[in-house]
Symmetry: C2
Subunit: 345 residues, 2 copies
DNA sequence: CATGTTTGCGCAAACGTTTGCACAGTCTCG
DNA sequence: CGAGACTGTGCAAACGTTTGCGCAAACATG
């Protein structure tokens, strides 16, 4: 015989299956004595409830889905870490799907989660968020309702969709302000992936920071990127080719910054003397770059933990409100006073 | 009403549920005409089969579990990437659990996967592999059978357990040999996590490489570590304090090597002139360190892909045999001829 | 003692599928 | 034209739970 079922226990205990079921749930209408006996018996027989059967009748699977762009991105991995911890603590399973940064794969990934009847899902760094609403409609437990969806770093209004995000604008703004305080005036920005919410917001933060600090915006100082390591070298080349190159650069994320650091070293540039660079995310690696990277910290695990907690709250019918956390600038060795400006007196 | 069920379709089509079920499976005993009609109707009504109900009767969930030590480790993340791709292509869900490198959490993590009735599981870089056998026993579909288990980089014999791993010994040996060819004689090794299978094998490979190249082993040149960024600096300090410090060092993985690189830069050491450094894994980042890291490549995504493919094969009753891949040394800028040895002539 | 409440348990339906079997009709072949 | 094979479909059981309801016994209350 295979897995021990509730009826096996019932038979062994000489009671009906329903009694066993209730006993295991500590239902008060089963005599304490019997309850304890059945629980002991179940343990002894190595009983493990069939999630599948239970799901069929209760209508929920105790499984959450997490859809990400790319686990390989350290930021994403850290968020997942938090999400996994939270869902394991809440005794939820976590179904995982990845889109490889490809919006069309993103819906396929989400579809697989949905097809496995996850109770809710959290999406990290989506770029196709608009399509979730249609996909989710009618997937909920009751009349045309929707499964709860929590977006990380990606607000998008909709029924039963929530978001937990960083104040990216503020973070980028802080970074620019800090650079200005160091004496920099020509500050570049290496943008993130097109269509991403945080890309947009960080760019806005950069612009706002420039404006607030009385620096005139120069479109040439904004270069495109995708938030990948490879983007760093490309961006540096573009910036160095400028007639009037920047003395500092803020990158969309640490990955791009690290790529830029590497390219700078290869080009014989000395960081931070020749160029100050700031990253974003504060991934663990950023402490170990050469020089250590000044960056804007995001509480990544918290983001993930919060996301699943919100999701579970929504499932329980509790009220949940969107969270927006604020980042903190971590100053390390990749930024420096802009001394050259003063010239030789 | 909620999800459209097979009976809804049956009603709409004026046939019995069983006919619908068979039509959707393209069962030949349903007339082609009806089959097409029902399939069209199902599509039109937005029917999505209930995996849960199906699982209950078929006995399998089309879900695989993946248990890892830490997603945050780039090596692990890459393997997961491969695993996810393969399981998505095979239309399997992937349930995710993490142990935070803690053997006791590891069984809890695996337990959650098992409780969600995964059809099989793959474990990446376990350290508590011995305990899986007991946990899995009796969890299989028939009489006392076991769910298939695939270990990545971690062989462990057992019924229905398979492994896909790298020839770590060979990789480490290659690295040492290469260093010897560059003229190095005092080559250090920064070890990996205690209890890990690859740790042991790479250490063996290091020893073998030293022996094969006629270098006398010096226990002082082997320092402990855990395969983390933080281990690099610690290791470097230990090695530098030696009376006769090494001229080259092989690290358990790229992470430790990167940490070491950072510490070396901070200490004013010039890599590779003062010290040659080799990592292991060839994580994407290793191309962007300063200097770029010489390392032993592992086909990480392939490892993951293979693991789930083997798992699925085992599920289908097909014969599967363990795979062992061999790594390739990637030479980059962190290694150099050992010139000093020759002295000023 | 009659009535009402509580306690403890079982029956059976339900969840949405799959699948063995039965059955009726049609076809094929001798 | 009759026997057998094939074709197309439906019935009902089964998977392992949960849960509303019913019922009997015990108990409390007046």
């Amino acid at each position: 015989m295979r897995q021990v079922s509730i009826t096996d226990i019932a038979q062994a205990a000489g009671v009906s299956p329903s009694t066993v079921s209730r006993a295991l749930q500590d239902h008060p209408r089963i005599s304490l004595e019997r309850r304890k006996a059945i629980q002991a018996l179940a343990r002894e027989m190595g009983y493990r409830p069939s999630q599948v059967a239970r799901s069929l009748v209760t209508g929920h699977t105790r499984t959450l889905g997490v859809a990400v762009t790319d686990v390989t991105d350290p930021f994403v991995a850290e968020v997942m870490k938090g999400a996994e911890a939270a869902s394991r603590k809440a005794d939820y399973g976590l179904l995982f799907a990845m889109s490889n940064r490809d919006p069309s794969q993103e819906v396929a990934a989400a579809q697989i989660l949905l097809d496995h009847q996850v109770d809710g899902m959290v999406v990290i760094s989506s770029r196709a968020n608009a399509r979730y609403n249609e996909m989710l409609s009618g997937r909920g437990p009751k009349h045309g309702s929707q499964i709860p969806l929590v977006l990380v770093n990606n607000a998008q209004p909709g029924p039963n969709v929530f978001s937990v995000r960083m104040d990216n604008r503020d973070g980028a703004c802080q970074a620019v302000t800090y650079l200005r305080e160091l004496g920099h005036r020509r500050i570049a920005f290496v943008a993130g992936p097109e269509g991403g919410c945080s890309s947009r917001e960080r760019l806005e933060g950069y612009r706002q920071g420039m404006a607030e600090n009385g620096l005139r915006p120069d479109l040439k100082l904004i270069v495109t990127g995708g938030g990948l390591l490879e983007d760093g070298p490309r961006a540096l080349r573009t910036l160095l080719d400028l007639a009037d190159p920047p003395t500092a650069v803020l990158c969309y994320n640490d990955l791009a910054a690290i790529g830029l650091l590497a390219a700078a070293a290869a080009a014989g540039l000395h960081i931070p003397d020749d160029l100050s660079v700031i990253g974003y995310d504060n991934i663990p690696l950023s402490r170990f770059t050469i020089p250590p990277l000044t960056t804007v910290d995001q509480p990544k695990e918290t983001l993930g933990r919060l996301a699943v907690m919100m999701c579970i709250c929504a499932l329980n019918g509790e009220p949940v409100k969107d969270a927006v956390l604020t980042g903190e600038l971590i100053v390390r060795g990749s930024t420096n006073l802009h001394s050259k400006e003063k010239g030789p007196t």
